[in-house]
Symmetry: C2
Subunit: 408 residues, 2 copies
């Protein structure tokens, strides 16, 4: 056959999905698989958001505007007011999910072999998008042993070189659950201003902050209007991952107008999803208050269960709905695959995301996994029963050599 490109052959395999064929095989064998591998909560969408949606498109479903439909852009700007951020509609464009937002932004700010600095662990698919764009990630490692601290500003500054174009964060962080406080962001804001870099902040989880912590929007800082770019998404915020609607928000309208060249090539974001998103963003606050309460309960349950497992190290998430956990295992890829190929407990197993994909530094995350606590309690119970049992029987267990459970 004709050759594949070298770049596709070396492309990063998304840790969220690379074992899905194994999960399908497990299901075919009759094993129930509890999916904690992907951040797709099972909460109800906002009510009535799809009501009569067909009636809106009685004749045909047209291409929308490349930058997104104006009512949606207006609704999104209005929504940001609740965080104290005032934006014009020309300062926000709609993308096909945050995924497209990240990719288009990378393409517009960095050329081949340019670098972006990313604290690790980070959202695994950043690896893949950077590979696609030919951009190098310069990771700033933070250790689970120290509770995944945000790297100090001097570490960021030392990592800046002639090819550095941006610092990329997710706040709250996926997978560590860390939330950036005002001082950390102020330091970063000062740094990108000093070095004339972009500060890209993925705020997909901004609604999911636990008590004692506060979400500070990157767009709330003055003096860095040309530097700050926020990547956002409808997916998690409204339990509608499948609508594929995200946004890029920045006061740097020149950048947005350039990104829109890419938007125009792919013509239009999905229209039905945009209708959903427009309605969802117009909802009152109570929807997310309920979700936060429920996620806090799920978090408490998972932490409680992990406390009962020997050799497990975690730090309570400050935001989002992921636990990035050290397990007493030799190799998280092997363990996550084994859970699907060789393990079952009462006919059930659990699918997790192996930790290695969340780092750019080779060898890191080998005994870490990401647990998305996105299902209702009975499913989490099954999942934690499976995990507990699995750690007792997994052939690659390292229990004898690992630390005891530590919570913070």
């Amino acid at each position: 056959m004709p050759k594949l490109s070298a770049r596709v052959e070396s492309t990063f395999a998304s840790p969220f999905r690379k074992f899905l064929p194994l999960a399908q095989q497990a299901k075919a064998r009759g094993t129930q698989v509890v999916h904690l591998n992907i951040g797709q909560p099972d909460f109800l969408m906002p009510p009535d958001t799809l009501d009569g949606i067909g009636d809106l498109y009685q004749k045909f479903i047209p291409y929308g505007e490349a930058e997104g439909q104006m009512p949606l852009r207006q609704a999104w700007c209005q929504y940001y007011e609740k965080f104290g951020v005032t934006l014009d509609t020309e300062e926000l464009i709609i993308t096909c999910g945050a995924s497209e937002g990240i990719y288009f932004t990378l393409m517009a700010i960095a050329d081949l072999n340019d670098q972006i600095i990313v604290p690790e662990p980070f959202y695994a698919n950043y690896n893949g998008f950077c590979q696609m764009a030919g951009v190098e990630i310069v990771p700033l490692f933070s250790s689970i042993d120290d509770g995944f601290p945000i790297p100090g500003i001097s570490a960021f500054e030392e990592a800046i070189g002639p090819r550095t174009k941006a610092i990329l964060l997710s706040n709250p962080n996926n997978p560590s659950g860390k939330v950036y406080n005002r001082q950390m962001l102020l330091d970063l804001v000062g740094l990108v201003r000093k070095h004339d870099l972009y500060l890209l902040v993925d705020e997909a989880y901004s609604e999911f902050i636990y008590e004692d912590f506060e979400f500070i929007p990157a767009l709330s800082f003055a003096g860095v209007e040309k530097n700050v770019v926020v990547i956002d998404s409808i997916s998690k915020r409204f339990n509608a991952c499948g609508v594929r609607v995200g946004a890029i928000a920045s006061r740097n309208t020149e950048l947005l107008q350039n990104i829109a060249k890419y938007s125009r090539l792919r013509l239009s974001p999905p229209m039905l999803g945009q209708t959903f998103a427009t309605r969802a963003l117009q909802l009152s606050n109570t929807y997310h208050q309920e979700l936060r309460k429920d996620f806090a309960e799920r978090r408490a349950y998972i932490l409680h269960r992990l406390d009962g497992m020997e050799g497990v190290l975690y730090h309570a998430p400050e935001g989002a709905f992921y636990l990035f956990v050290r397990l007493p295992i030799d190799d998280s890829d092997r363990f996550c695959a084994w859970l699907l190929t060789d393990f079952a407990h009462d006919g059930r197993t659990v699918m997790l995301s192996p930790g290695t994909g969340f780092y750019a530094t080779p060898g890191k995350g080998k005994n870490e996994v990401r647990i998305a606590y996105i299902l209702e309690k009975p499913a989490l119970e099954i999942a934690m029963d499976c995990l507990e049992h699995a750690l007792n029987v997994y052939p690659g267990s390292t229990k004898n050599t690992s630390l005891s459970a530590v919570s913070v």
Copy 2:
């Protein structure tokens, strides 16, 4: 501000949309703008395709499978049977429009500075996708003077070099309306087999073929299972450009599995659009019979009107719903902009796509425009009245030096 990337600054501006700001200004002045610039027909969608769609997603809208939902893949394979093509579901993956299909395929078959051969004029956004992917288009020019002939096989063969990875066609061709006959495709099939290249065929317009012509699916040829890749789309076929659902179909499952690495990075195609597409593909043939009849009438009307304009050269389209026309003008970009900025006839004007974007060869298409005859007759009438009048008053008219109208 921090620098933009060199690649975004040099990115091709889509000819379908680059003058939209001018159209908005014209509308703000009270001018009615008839949009023949983009291929979005105004026919009715298949009936009932959105009925009760909200009821299907009562709880939440989940991520779908990265490669698309199985019922949609099944429906698409079933639909291909009508063209005599039998495909397995693993031989077809769903994309976010044909746009994503083209881009992902380019990324998977070609590395930086690799080449693909494309007969020109071609779908303008190929230029942009190739730029994004760092792939060079080697155009094979065919002239409007000769009726946009498909280049001979020797021209294709001569263009093949050490960096050539593929030949890319659209069949029927957008914008020329040419349809590839069996012998042309057989010749190309032989060539890609001989040189071990990919043959990428964009079949988005396969339903729109006028009498005396026949659509031959690229997947119908034996012996090139690893070479042939079809890019397809729901958009035009079902008057639903805004659902953003396309497909990549190939018997080369190794290629598809590699492309799916990119699919997994962006997680899922849009779910609501996939529901629409699944239903639409299950419809009977009569839907497209009606559309073909109506397009034939629109085509006849436009050709009739062009026959009445001095210095206009066209060739009757064999498929799709575009006319790529030579006009007696100095510069199609200037003319298309002028139609929006300086012209109005009875308070109305027409938006067209300038021809230059449909070529990779610099300087080509300067007196050509693409007319999408996608609106109902009253709108086409207004548009043609405007065009006729505009050609009489346009300051850059070249009527004295141009050819007379020629029809075939």
